[in-house]
């Protein structure tokens, strides 16, 4: 797709444009001039065809792109730049053939404005390296950051402790992690990072995706009828997609419940986690439902004892915009309630707009960390 060297095509929606020379050895000055040339040409396209072109950036978005995740992530990133225009840096570390060194090319991601009338374009800088040049990546990125805009690192590298990624973390104002991306369900490094750097700087997208679950459950207990049953809660079952070891959201959810309801941890026994509440024992069980749905939660069942008995199950699947609540006790009822499912890009942008530290996440993470080590008998 070499649209700029074919001026008749002009800038159009969602086009990723390569600079005229394509990828070339990294040189910050040359890249900036490629970008300038790109805008100059864009400005020369006939506005009656493309409409006015706006160049926009609210942040520097730095994304190490693991080759395994690239095809999934690129459409998400395009959507993120539509919702939150940014200068996007995608980094493909170690993919270039040996001897290629550090290379880069530029492009633009363009979106038609709502209601028509012109394109909003974001710059993209694609950095590739061979394995020997990986350590040079952070300095290359640093030389191209737009100085007065915040730098956001979207860290989706499954591996931990890569020194070049740590260096990127140091230069970032905000780090978005996803504790779900590690399939073993154990990317605990994310939570360590939250504890170390604070939840103002490090956000876990797995937590953001839990928000609708927390909403639905909170809303159940907004009803005066059910509120007292929180005090006599005895058993919580958390069902997650897949099988095996519980994924991070299950731990986070348990951590959240335990801190909100002031339970104290008692121990782990045959796959069940025991707590003590003000009124007695509480057991939390986490189980895979066997379905194919990533690492998402699919079911929460709760049971409370007398004098405020309650039996209730909340289920949600995939991208549904509703969850189903079925109550057994005190009376049989079934209702579909709104479930704020959000696309991945919307989740990411939601986090970009949240600046305050997140006390609930910090508390949940602390408990979740402890539960996981106890579970493994560490």
């Amino acid at each position: 797709m070499n649209a700029l060297s074919a001026p008749t095509a002009g800038l159009s929606e969602n086009y990723v444009l390569d600079a005229p020379d394509g990828s070339r050895p990294f040189n910050a000055t040359a890249i900036e001039s490629d970008l300038r040339a790109m805008w100059k040409r864009a400005g020369e396209t006939d506005p009656s065809k493309a409409g006015a072109i706006y160049r926009a950036a609210l942040s520097n978005l730095v994304v190490p792109l693991d080759p395994g995740l690239e095809s999934k992530l690129m459409p998400v990133l395009v959507d993120v730049t539509r919702r939150h225009p940014s200068r996007l840096f995608t980094i493909e570390a170690g993919v270039a053939p040996r001897g290629a060194g550090l290379r880069a090319r530029v492009g633009a991601l363009c979106h038609r404005r709502n209601g028509g009338g012109g394109l909003v374009c974001c710059e993209q800088v694609i950095v590739q390296s061979d394995s020997a040049s990986i350590p040079l990546i952070p300095s290359a990125i640093r030389s191209l950051l737009i100085g007065d805009l915040p730098t956001v690192l979207l860290d989706f590298q499954p591996e931990q402790d890569l020194s070049w990624v740590s260096e990127l973390m140091d230069m970032a104002d905000l780090i978005l992690e996803d504790s779900c991306l590690n399939e073993s369900g154990n990317k605990r490094g994310v939570w360590k990072l939250v504890e170390r750097e604070g939840s103002g700087k490090v956000h876990d997208l797995a937590w953001a995706r839990l928000a609708p679950w927390r909403h639905v459950l909170a809303e159940v207990f907004d009803m005066k009828e059910y509120l007292p049953a929180l005090k006599t809660l005895r058993r919580v079952e958390i069902g997650f997609a897949g099988t095996g070891y519980p994924p991070p959201p299950a731990w986070l959810f348990t951590g959240w419940l335990a801190t909100r309801l002031a339970w104290t941890f008692q121990g782990v026994d045959r796959g069940e986690i025991r707590f003590r509440s003000g009124s007695g024992d509480v057991t939390v069980v986490m189980r895979g439902t066997g379905s194919r749905g990533g690492r998402a939660l699919e079911r929460i069942a709760i049971r409370s004892d007398k004098p405020h008995p309650l039996e209730m199950e909340i289920t949600h699947k995939g991208r549904d915009v509703t969850a189903t609540i079925v109550t057994g006790t005190p009376g049989a009822r079934r209702a579909d309630v709104p479930f704020g499912y959000r696309e991945f890009a919307a989740c990411i942008v939601g986090e970009l707009h949240r600046h305050a530290p997140n006390r609930s996440l910090e508390d949940a993470v602390r408990v979740a960390e402890r539960l996981m080590s106890e579970w493994r008998g560490e």
């Binding site: 706006y54 909003v120 909170a218 207990f221």
Partner: protein, 492 residues
């Protein structure tokens, strides 16, 4: 589940530990919102859609109840159905709508009937009990102002306007939102305020002008006060003139009778424009005009007097331009030019702040033409944003200075439209934040100013009613008003 009808009451205090701060942007109080005039246009077009969007975004407390009150004999189900038919995004049985509809109720009654208000009181108490609402009330007067007197008197008589003691933050509150216009002159505004105050304390009164809920109007304040490079410039030393324009391309649409009795001075000048400029002002020069037939955006349109419902001899102005001097230290000597009109070439609201040129025109000796002033434009609608123009040397051997522009578009920068003004204002009222509502003295001051003009017009020196063809920027006299000071209107 979503409509918790018939819930048992418990004595437990209503604190839900799962509703933590990360789940809501702001913690709104559960309350009964009573909309007087619930079958009217404003309710259909603005209020219920705004409340529905707030509910979808989970910004309304889930126990909120919305009670419509109007003359028409409807029951709650018929009211829900009527709202479902008109509110965007409510068609079909989306769970979001179902949940929201479960919080809608209707009580028929006429505003003049005290018994209807006692019945309303009983409905509200019942909803408090059923939904666990601690007695908070938000009354929205979405009726023509002619109804306010009966309405307020009966709200008071039925004991619905309880004044919460200000020292007790946990006591239930009641608040009232009043729609503009706030009177039709100073006298009626004072009378209305006195009436409102016979029932509510000023701290309970929220006078809504949706202009103030607009993100870009709020942005004016943020822009001015939080940007170190602009804040010091906001005075007569650096600013040469200010232009405020509120242009509409439409005519009077269905509001001919209302408009014809007040004209643009009351319709837009008093409320919206004065919100953009709440200062002590002394009138100088005014141009009034009425549109005659012309074409707007390629479509022929009739003259004002030919519009349905308008008196064919009407002397009502549809265009007003004025030069105003602000009588305080900061702005003395800086003319403020205001213009507003109907059937202008396009719809646009903006404030242009024109800066003085540097005292020493260094480049004049180099054969450079007169410098163009720096202009800061705060665009309120459409295309909300801010732009700044400044001079730059154009490429080439000769020294030419051309104006270039730096633009900030709300939409392109933030990738989303700013939220609707009514949403923001309803939320603020629930939260007890009256920053974006008009205070009594503010309203009276604005009327004092407009009254001054209107009174002058009643005497012999009433400016003549000029005309302008629809689809033009007003009469040439409006340009002359500025030319006297070697100024000109900045194009919109």
């Amino acid at each position: 589940m979503s409509a918790p009808g018939g819930l048992a009451l418990t004595s437990e205090p209503a604190v839900n530990p799962l509703r933590d701060e990360s789940l809501t942007l702001k913690a709104t109080d559960p309350c009964c919102i009573v909309v007087f005039g619930a079958t009217g246009d404003l309710t259909h077009r603005k209020l219920i859609p705004a409340l529905f969007r707030l509910s979808k975004q989970k910004l309304l407390h889930p126990r909120t109840a919305i009670v419509g009150f109007a003359r028409r004999q409807l029951d709650s189900d018929a009211f829900r159905e009527e709202m479902r038919r008109t509110v965007p995004g409510s068609d079909g049985a989306s769970p979001e709508w179902e949940r929201f509809a479960g919080s809608l109720f209707y009580q028929p009654g006429v505003f003049e009937d005290p018994e209807a208000f006692r019945a309303l009181g009983r409905v509200l108490t019942g909803l408090d009990e059923k939904r666990g609402i601690p007695g908070n009330r938000l009354f929205y007067l979405a009726t023509p102002p002619s109804e306010y007197a009966a309405l307020l008197a009966n709200i008071g008589a039925a004991g619905l306007a309880r004044r919460a003691s200000r020292s007790d933050a946990s006591a239930p509150w009641s608040r009232v939102i009043i729609e503009k216009p706030f009177g039709h002159d100073l006298k009626s505004a004072r009378k209305l305020n006195a009436l409102v105050h016979s029932v509510f304390h000023e701290s309970q009164v929220y006078r809504i002008d949706h202009y103030l809920g607009k993100e870009t109007v709020q942005n004016i304040l943020v822009f001015r006060l939080s940007n170190g490079i602009f804040e010091p410039l906001w005075n007569n030393r650096y600013v040469e003139q200010v232009q405020i324009s509120v242009a509409e391309s439409v005519g009077v649409e269905t509001r001919a009778a209302y408009f014809d009795s007040g004209g643009i001075s009351r319709d837009i000048f008093q409320n919206h424009m004065m919100q953009l400029l709440t200062l002590t002002i002394v009138a100088r020069d005014i141009v009034r005009a009425q549109y005659v037939a012309g074409a707007v955006g390629g479509t022929p349109v009739p003259g004002y007097r030919e519009e349905p419902g308008v008196d064919p001899r009407s002397q009502t102005e549809t265009y007003l331009a004025a030069r105003i001097d602000v009588d305080n230290w900061r702005w003395s000597g800086v003319p403020f030019y205001l213009r507003t009109g109907k059937r202008l070439p396009k719809r646009a609201t903006e404030i242009a702040i024109v800066f003085r040129n540097p005292p020493y025109e260094l480049f004049r000796s180099a054969g450079c033409d007169a410098l163009q002033a720096n202009v800061l434009r705060l665009r309120i609608q459409p295309d909300e944003g801010i732009s700044l123009s400044f001079g730059s040397k154009s490429p080439g051997q000769a020294l030419h200075i051309d104006p270039v522009q730096m633009d900030f578009y709300y939409l392109t920068s933030f990738g989303q439209d700013p939220p609707d003004a009514y949403e923001r204002l309803l939320l603020d009222c629930n939260l007890g934040d009256s920053t974006l509502f008009a205070r009594r003295d503010e309203v009276e001051l604005a009327w004092e100013f407009v009254d001054g003009i209107l009174n002058a017009w009643r005497s012999d020196n009433r400016p003549p009613l000029l005309t302008y063809p629809a689809g033009t920027w007003g009469p040439p006299e409006a340009d002359e008003l500025l030319q006297r000071n070697h100024h000109h209107w900045y194009p919109l």
